[in-house]
């Protein structure tokens, strides 16, 4: 039995207390006078940050800087990646470098979409899984088999996505069934079909805005209900929700809530943000993601999910403490509910995954994002 006592910490920025851990799990009271002590020094304790929408396989983290080489269109971005991803070096090494950064910042759970296509096969999936396995116990990685280069428009991709599940991926992805792949009904029927065959959930990229996107949300909700996969479907980005009128938005949120479809945002720079308060009121689960980090799509990203929490707060126009605190909740508990993480939190019985941040308040943790953090995973200090 190993015991840990984390003294003088403030869970969620609240009153100071001690946290007790036995065999990697929080317990209510100290069990051993010989417990290892981690002095909290009055710092804020948060459960591990959850990156609910990543593209680990694309990152160039740890490799030399290279100028952005794609044009502005989505097609150009995808073609540029297919042309140059081979130059970046092994997936396993790049992903490992980024996961090390995540651990360093307290990002202890990641859901990553990973490209699957006939050119690259399952190499990226196996590379990501290998990098994650090397860091087992410190960070968890859930893999979505993602048809980045098209599903219907790239023959053989659907079969590879099914194979990816057999190789260890946990979810089936999708990508703009109408706007990119060109045949929304066949696209959705295909991915829901694979997911049903494999008894896994889905996480579908949907950038399509306005009424086109809204119509696809309805189609996704229909299939979620019909196939009995309530609670197992996520829509990523979901720009449609913030680019339709208020009445349509309300109706869509009702559909999402009824089908228990989760959403993830990566805080777009030039699209209105998700209506977080309205989603929260309806009980829709929302997670936060870092999206790509320094890759062939853009040079942005730091690997610190609190940077995204700040961006979300600013872009949402928040000033009140409880609003800004909501973004920290989305970056932690919100993502955990999207991923369905068991035993997540700072309560007795939860796995002792947490970070300690030197900030006076939760708001300050978000606005200042100090990087000298203590990170504990499964009761072991890993940073």
């Amino acid at each position: 039995m190993t015991s840990l006592r984390i003294t003088d910490v403030r869970p969620w920025g609240g009153p100071a207390t001690d946290l007790h851990v036995v065999d990697g799990v929080f317990v209510a009271t100290a069990s051993s006078p010989d417990a290892e002590v981690v002095p909290g020094g009055g710092r804020i304790a948060l459960p591990g940050l959850v990156d609910a929408h990543a593209h680990l396989d694309k990152t160039s983290w740890g490799t030399p800087y290279r100028p952005h080489s794609a044009g502005p269109s989505l097609a150009s971005l995808i073609d540029n990646e297919r042309a140059h991803r081979g130059d970046l070096g092994p997936v396993r090494e790049r992903v490992g470098a980024l996961l090390d950064r995540h651990i360093d910042r307290g990002v202890l759970h990641v859901r990553s979409h990973v490209d699957v296509d006939p050119q690259i096969g399952l190499d990226s999936v196996t590379g990501v899984l290998a990098a994650a396995a090397e860091r087992a116990g410190r960070v968890t990685v859930e893999v979505v088999a993602f048809p980045q280069s098209g599903l219907l428009t790239r023959a053989g991709t659907a079969e590879l996505m099914a194979d990816a599940i057999d190789a260890g991926a946990q979810l089936i992805g999708g990508l703009d069934p109408a706007g990119f792949d060109g045949d929304p009904i066949r696209h959705l029927d295909t991915i829901f079909g694979i997911a049903a065959d494999k008894h896994v959930g889905l996480d579908i990229h949907l950038h399509d805005r306005g009424t086109l996107g809204a119509w696809q949300i309805e189609r996704i909700a229909e299939r979620t209900e019909a196939l009995g996969v309530r609670g197992k479907v996520t829509i990523a980005h979901c720009y449609a929700l913030s680019t339709v009128d208020d009445v349509r938005q309300g109706a869509l949120i009702e559909l999402l809530a009824a089908a228990d479809i989760a959403l993830t945002t990566t805080v777009p720079g030039t699209t209105p943000q998700l209506p977080l308060a309205r989603l929260a009121a309806a009980g829709v689960r929302v997670g936060l993601g870092h999206d790509g980090v320094r890759d062939l799509w853009s040079p942005y990203g730091t690997g610190d999910l609190l940077d995204k929490a700040l961006a979300l707060a600013v872009a949402s126009g928040y000033r009140q403490d409880d609003d800004i605190e909501r973004t920290a909740r989305i970056a932690t508990e919100g993502g955990a509910r999207v991923l369905g993480l068991p035993d997540y939190g700072l309560e007795p019985g939860c796995r002792a995954n947490l970070l300690l941040i030197p900030a006076e308040s939760l708001v300050e943790a978000v606005t200042q994002r100090p990087v000298d953090r203590t990170v504990i995973a499964g009761g072991t200090v890993v940073r």
Copy 2:
């Protein structure tokens, strides 16, 4: 004569070179074998960052955290500030703490709007000037006498703004002549009148959006031309420019260029960004500002202008290197042109105000914003 050699630096991220300084000014070639050496180590050299729109007097930097206490309306924000600003402690100390942070990050020039009203008189102006004087040679601060609580609607404010110039402020401010102060023509005539009497320039807050703001831009341009103050007027925020149609936007940009009116942006979270490329093509000067830092208006802000450069790049939807580099130029040269800073830059003859950043490229300096910087002001290493 004091000499400095800064070896192996990459100006603007370009090829490595040595920079030579004599008596605080860059010179073309080494003049003394006894020069003090600052090893650049291949870092990027930028001239000092320029915060072209600050509210130094409002900051709570260096004081204990306090929850946000204002409601969402502009009137509530202003009333809340008037009720609580006395609790924050002496202006001089708070401003000094923030200026020290600025210097630490390489922000070496600041234009700050400073509140002037019958309740507070000139206390904030003299407090800011005192904190700046204590840091003379390390940072320059230009003060705008700012009618935060209303000009026409707060009797005695106009007279105090004139007094503020006598006390050391360099510019006359304004605030939403229509949307906040209620009488745009009388507001503009009053502030242009004071500026003409005192032979100083103007820097006018204009949040009013759409056609109301556009109409005021036209009135400001008329007065700038009629009173012969081309090149001495700035409009801050100028949300109207990004909330009118393209044709009107083009006509307004022509007016701004003709009157040589500068703009500053603080990267609003929920308003479209200024059309930077179109403004650059027309030759309109644009500077970047941090706006308030951790004050009664919002808890945001770090004192690092590169954080704002990143926000500007993301919110502008930039991915290309030259676009992202433009935001670094706006954070340096752009602001210097707005403030009319003499001898600004890394060329021989310029004052040796610079920062060294460990980044591979200028894009990476913006996206990653490493904080372990060397800062040199007037040829002296200050950090």
